[in-house]
Symmetry: C2
């Protein structure tokens, strides 16, 4: 459980950020659920996630920190945070608020599956993205 006793400084020591200052963060619906999305964190996004208990990322395209759900309200409450053996990837087991994590309206961003002819949409829409997002974004 993420809580106020956690020290971002102490946790940060075990994290190996890449040359670009980023680390991939895998967001999972609980520790045994669907993988909802993959995004990137810089030091500040990780510190904000630890301090607030809500998933924050760094957008490479928009070049800014964002909180998941800042526009949609589909906040991700972090239940558990893990790090891999090499310290260069983090896993967030979250409770996804609202119907889904993807700006396309799907619960998971991984809604397309490999088929012989290409990538096929296999998950149903969980919400109408046009009603939730005013502009394109996550």
């Amino acid at each position: 459980m993420i809580n106020r006793k956690m020290s971002p400084e102490k946790l940060m020591k075990g994290v190996k950020f890449g040359a670009d200052g980023l680390i991939p963060a895998i967001v999972q619906d609980g520790l045994r659920g669907r993988v909802l999305m993959v995004a990137y964190m810089n030091r500040r996004a990780l510190a904000l996630t630890i301090r607030t208990g809500k998933a924050h990322f760094y957008s490479r395209s928009r070049r800014r920190i964002w909180m998941k759900g800042e526009e949609s309200g589909h906040v991700q409450v972090v239940r558990e945070m893990r790090i891999d053996c090499d310290g260069d990837a983090v896993l967030l087991a979250v409770t996804q608020r609202g119907p889904g994590a993807c700006h396309t309206g799907h619960r998971s961003c991984f809604f397309r599956r490999a088929r012989g002819v290409g990538w096929k949409v296999v998950d149903r829409l969980a919400f109408d993205p046009d009603r939730v997002y005013r502009r394109k974004g996550k």
Copy 2:
């Protein structure tokens, strides 16, 4: 299901490799199981994964293609392959052969959890890595 009818060329069109030619691959124990590991693929690793049905990656440190389990025998049989909304991350739902995916002897590479004082090992060893790996590696 990964099968011979799949066309690596057609699937590759929907994949956005990074400037370094790589894409992160999340490996999950089935579609609703533990996240086992995160590794990277280049075009060739992805094509080999599609053709053989066994997870192949590109090692940034060793600068070569590797098949998961090539040393340990702990092969990952790919049951399903998914891609995210942006086309820049893939998810492999696998059947993990053998006791675990991590070179440390754990089932998942995400065996450490954030605590107030740092990252704490919370998963038990699934196998003795010294018996399985002759040299350090995955």
